[in-house]
């Protein structure tokens, strides 16, 4: 997997938007003064008449998107996760979620890997916020290919979707020619019998590598990619718990309210099993290079393997 160049999922977002722009004349893109960073500029260059910069005014942007969707358009509204999910939460909840409008939220720069900008920009709460909105689909793709597929799936689906992308260039793992994306379905990337590592976003690559490190220590880990956090693939979680016992979740998000808690609730109600959550503990991030912060927060392969060897029974 290392021969291919690393590329950020937000690049996949921009590239697929442009492609979809050719196919869907009613697709429009809104941004809040971050077009170059979110990669909506890729769409803007191709379709300047269907791109609308809302300025630094995210709350307004979300409700404008709602109005567009209510009038037959397919709007994508973009900003950093912090401002899309955080700043504009209540607009997303009441203008988009409650009327179940066909708005796609393209949230980039999620998690601590946003890096040097520091805590004010490192959104580790967006999954939690979006999970509480009834009917909101949440997709957190693991690489460029999956990001593109997720954007397409979001357009093909009628209803609100929160798409979570990263700033950091990451390895490509979904490179097989028969790669298929199915919204709501987890993907088993590696089989194993001792435990299951359930990861999302850029942590999927790290989990795969962690499984190799664990194998060298005699632990046989299954690895599952959960790109769709809501609706969660509960069936697969139950199956993994039955077959491997312990589940370890890994996410670049707070362990409060994210993938880990979603898996905990699903299993508590359906097939109680031990779940160990790896993620950002109940704390804020800080400045530093993104890749280094992933290590600092124990979300890299070594950190994941260490945590499992030391703290997971």
């Amino acid at each position: 997997m290392s021969e291919l160049k690393k590329i950020a999922t937000r690049e996949g977002y921009g590239d697929e938007l442009k492609k979809l722009g050719e196919e869907y004349p009613n697709l429009v893109v809104l941004d809040a003064d971050l077009a170059a960073a979110t990669k909506t500029a890729t769409f803007q260059k191709a379709f300047p008449d269907r791109f609308f910069d809302c300025g630094i005014a995210e709350a307004n942007m979300m409700s404008v998107a709602a109005g567009l969707a209510a009038s037959g358009m397919i709007p994508f509204a973009s900003s950093f996760a912090m401002f899309a999910a955080g700043r504009a939460y209540e607009q997303v909840r009441n203008s988009i979620g409650y009327p179940h409008l066909n708005v796609k939220i393209g949230a980039t720069h999620a998690g601590v890997s946003v890096g040097e900008d520091g805590a004010t920009h490192q959104c580790c709460e967006d999954i939690a916020l979006m999970r509480t909105i009834p009917g909101m689909v949440i997709i957190n793709p693991s690489d460029y290919t999956e990001a593109r597929a997720a954007v397409r799936a979001a357009v093909e689906y009628d209803g609100p979707v929160y798409l979570r992308f990263g700033r950091l260039a990451v390895e490509q793992i979904n490179t097989s020619p028969d790669y298929r994306f199915e919204m709501g379905k987890g993907v088993t990337l590696r089989d194993g019998k001792d435990l299951t590592i359930v990861a999302t976003g850029l942590c999927v690559t790290e989990a795969l590598k962690a499984a190799e490190l664990l194998a060298a220590q005699g632990k046989d880990a299954r690895v599952v990619n959960i790109h769709t956090i809501k609706p969660l693939d509960v069936g697969l979680m139950v199956k993994c718990a039955k077959e491997t016992g312990t589940i370890v979740t890994v996410e670049e998000h707070s362990i409060i309210g994210g993938l880990g808690e979603a898996v905990c609730s699903a299993l508590a109600e359906n097939y109680p099993a031990r779940v160990h959550r790896i993620g950002v503990k109940d704390e804020f991030g800080y400045s530093g290079p993104g890749a280094q912060l992933i290590k600092e927060f124990g979300l890299d392969s070594e950190g994941i393997a260490r945590e499992i060897l030391e703290n997971v029974r």
Partner: protein
């Protein structure tokens, strides 16, 4: 509080502050040079010659407060604070590094002299209103200054704050808009124009003055006016500035909003600034 007597001294200090900005952003390999350089003169004047503050006692109860609502201008604020003596100038080289107290955006819990954490645009100005209101409640004489970007004022929250400030008669509050005309996606007037800025603030009940953001005499006049004003109206100073000011290849170039200079660019920027002279201050 006049610490620098002449315009020449102010210019020399502002020049040092700019070197600190460029140095910090270069060592961080990231950050926001454009909007830091555009407000460097204003911040220099505010801290050295306007505000009642004491670097030896950064949390003094009666000190004047400053909120950098455009928090990405942190390199400018840090550089001014360092040159004031709040912490060593040398530490600017640790900006944005793991383990450094100099976070990418102002962090009041870590950086001595920072009165309010900021970084999410539009929020600092409301916090400044809270500080000004606290002074009124506690019958204290301190003043509150707050710097906003001209892109930042596209945030609805800024206008909620403006409504609040004038309705609560916060004449101890002085806003400064760093009007460099650029944001990230292009010219402010082309992205989603907030103009006319002066008439909007007038309509919201502010005293409005316009100055050249790189002219210390005009700053002094405007700030004297704001301080003397006790008619219940908050003041806004709309400061026409040049984004990237002082580093010629960065001036008015939108792309220098949020990228760091490489080594060659860093050297050339520092040389240009050094030629401006560090003066005897």
């Amino acid at each position: 509080m006049k610490r620098l007597a002449t315009t020449a001294e102010l210019e020399a200090m502002a020049n040092r502050v700019r070197q600190g900005i460029v140095t910090g952003v270069f060592h961080a390999k990231s950050g926001h040079p454009g909007g830091s350089l555009s407000c460097a003169d204003l911040l220099t004047y505010l801290y050295f010659n306007e505000m009642n503050v004491d670097p030896q006692n950064p949390t003094a109860e009666d000190r004047d407060r400053f909120v950098l609502s455009k928090g990405h201008g942190a390199p400018a604020l840090y550089s001014v604070l360092a040159h004031m003596g709040y912490f060593p100038v040398k530490d600017l080289e640790t900006l944005r590094h793991i383990g450094s107290y100099l976070q990418g955006h102002p962090d009041m819990k870590r950086v001595p002299g920072v009165d309010m954490s900021s970084g999410s645009l539009g929020q600092g100005v409301s916090a400044a209103c809270g500080m000004a209101l606290a002074a009124k409640i506690q019958k204290k004489g301190y003043r509150v200054y707050c710097m906003l970007g001209d892109g930042e004022i596209e945030e609805g929250q800024v206008w909620e704050a403006a409504m609040f400030a004038s309705h609560k008669k916060l004449d101890n509050l002085c806003l400064i808009v760093d009007n460099n005309g650029l944001q990230i996606d292009g010219k402010v007037e082309e992205v989603c124009s907030p103009y006319p800025i002066d008439e909007k603030f007038q309509a919201f009940g502010f005293e409005v003055t316009e100055i050249d953001a790189h002219n210390f005499e005009e700053m002094e006049k405007a700030l004297n006016f704001a301080r003397a004003n006790q008619n219940g109206k908050p003041t806004v100073i709309i400061a026409k500035s040049v984004k990237g000011k002082g580093v010629s290849f960065m001036e008015n170039v939108v792309n220098w909003h949020g990228v760091a200079p490489n080594e060659e660019q860093f050297n050339s920027a520092m040389q240009e600034l050094l030629e401006g002279g560090n003066g005897d201050v």
